[in-house]
Symmetry: C2
Subunit: 378 residues, 2 copies
């Protein structure tokens, strides 16, 4: 039912294929984020049109709203949201630990972590909840997501090394409990490698996680892209990838900007998710083959050329920068939709080219091309 | 280039066809409102999918933003917004006279009307502008809309009869000036029949407008649906339709709810526009074959059936009421898009059925069916 096939490599960059009950995923893959059961400002059919292979759902958000009970009655998340391709759900850990920083709704909430689990007040009603590894698996088994994540403890940047090690151990302990709690055969679990910003901790995290290798379909690299310098992110990714088994997929959680994805692919990562393309679309920052466009800028007022002449998306094939700017300035909903179609297509097309380049052993060249593109501000 | 063909009638209800340089329009027709060059929360291709024949643009809004200059440089409104089907633009009169009531931006602006034209401060920057019949024609000739409206003076409900008569005369005078100002041959002008809420004034308005019949492609009925009782709206529509020539299309401006459209079709109206389906979609009020649904209501929380089992739109073919409610409560942009697709499809399908029913001489029966539907609150 589930299988990972490593097709070929170009240096450390990997070209693979994941088989799931809801379809095949060509890797390296970018997974658009469907936080609350919809990718923001998109429709499922628009996702299909731009070549989306899998979407991500956030356990924290879906658990709160519409709630596990409704998704259960609907017959699972795929049926509730009418999405028939693969779904990956996170563990909610990242969101819960973000609450303490006031990430949602600008209100800092109390988050209390213990070996048993994590207690938190939600950002909607302020109700108290308690997430344990067992509960998080149970929720995701109700969702029926193809790929699930175990509860992990995410630490901030910067963090005390002793605390980071404690969080690492807790994450391993929670992984073991998650594996024990898991019942469904038609879903797979990843192990999450923590270890913050120290190579020795990352190595230790891999070693400890690998002890459960037989129960894990793949490996996630967690705790990065949380404010640390890029070199640290790339360095940690490199250390972890070198120690992970070749035959299983690797997922760099929450990453990232195009340049981050390319650097991580080069180091051997297969899967990515990030809100950057969709969020930037809604604030007017658009990626193109010529460089990055701030569509709000008055310089586009009378520019009747397409946003990206090399892009094949609906937005670029039909509309001008002048029109897109007008819609954005006029705060039309269609601006957010058209921008999101484009930014996601830019990401997905980049991944298509990445896969082809790895097959043809010219990944480095492609990477340089894209790095130039995203460096250029138009 | 332009032609109106009255195909058949059922009582006073008319089945017709309008030929324009951008395509054929089957009537009676509902025209979705694309205020700022986009139908709110829609994409052009979604409009195509639900059978949109023509959209409306608002001269007032487009004149302010992006501005006439940009639309001119783009090569007209069709090219600026990349919409290849017919476009009707209003004269901006209704919006300008609404400014005095604080309709936009909750700030009452000064509006000064004279025989020469109307001076107003816009709702965006508060800048002063002066619209004359000539200027409004000039703007619409730059837009290149297929069907244009002459500047008219809209009065409120209630209004003093003497003032209403004065406004009527001014509207006729402005029509004459509009005709003189009109240059382009690939656009047509309608005459707007005012006369407020008195049958004798409406009759007089028709008589005066008909004097320019040779220059007019069709007739608009203005100044209704502004707060007057329904019977008055229907009564005025009836009086006007009885006096208008059979061989030209009739457009009831800004109308309306499904029941208003049906009553007006019965009295001989061919064309309609209204923000009701799109605005209601964004506030969660949805029309269905079973009745009107408030999608926010908790009663839909676990209702996994489609919004409207008889509807063929993307929303109804794919998603449940429970999912639509979830998206709406979660304030997802996709909620507004999915709701708008459905409400507009409901309107357009109703018009398709209206046309078929007129052809088959069973309009009254169809009207009763729809009146029952929209009366029923689910």
């Amino acid at each position: 039912m589930f299988k990972f096939h490593l097709i070929t490599k170009d240096g450390k960059a990997r070209r693979g294929r994941i088989y799931t009950p809801h379809g095949v995923i060509e890797t390296p893959v970018f997974m658009p984020v469907g936080t609350q059961g919809t990718v923001k400002a998109m429709l499922h059919k628009l996702l299909d049109e731009i070549g989306t292979q899998i979407i991500l759902g956030n356990t924290y958000h879906l658990y709160l709203r519409p709630g596990t009970e409704i998704i259960k009655k609907a017959g699972g998340l795929h049926r509730f949201i009418s999405w028939n391709k693969p779904i990956l759900t996170d563990s909610g850990g990242y969101q819960v630990f973000s609450l303490a920083k006031g990430k949602f709704g600008n209100r800092k909430a109390k988050v209390k972590v213990s070996d048993e689990g994590v207690e938190f007040q939600d950002h909607l009603q302020g109700d108290k909840h308690f997430f344990t590894p067992e509960k998080v698996v149970e929720i995701q088994e109700i969702f029926g997501s193809d790929i699930m994540m175990p509860l992990d403890e995410c630490v901030e940047y910067p963090v005390d090394k002793n605390y980071a090690e404690k969080a690492l151990k807790r994450t391993i302990n929670w992984l073991e409990r998650s594996i024990k709690a898991k019942k469904r055969e038609d879903q797979v679990l990843f192990g999450i490698v923590q270890g913050a910003f120290w190579k020795d901790l990352r190595k230790k995290a891999v070693e400890e996680t690998l002890k459960f290798d037989e129960f894990l379909f793949g490996y996630s690299i967690g705790g990065l892209s949380v404010g640390e310098p890029k070199e640290i992110m790339y360095g940690m990714t490199e250390v972890v990838c070198e120690l992970l088994p070749e035959k299983k997929p690797r997922y760099l959680m929450g990453v990232g900007k195009p340049e981050d994805i390319l650097e991580a692919v080069e180091r051997g990562v297969d899967m990515f998710d990030c809100v950057v393309p969709t969020r930037n679309a809604r604030t007017g920052t658009l990626y193109t083959s010529q460089g990055v466009v701030d569509i709000r800028h008055s310089k586009w007022k009378e520019d009747f050329s397409p946003l990206d002449p090399e892009c094949d998306c609906y937005t670029c094939r039909n509309f001008s920068k002048a029109y897109l700017r007008h819609l954005f300035v006029a705060e039309e909903i269609s601006a957010y939709v058209l921008n999101t179609i484009h930014n996601l297509r830019f990401y997905l097309k980049m991944m298509e080219e990445v896969r082809k380049a790895i097959e043809e052993k010219r990944f480095k060249e492609l990477k340089e091309k894209y790095l130039q593109r995203v460096k250029n501000k138009l």
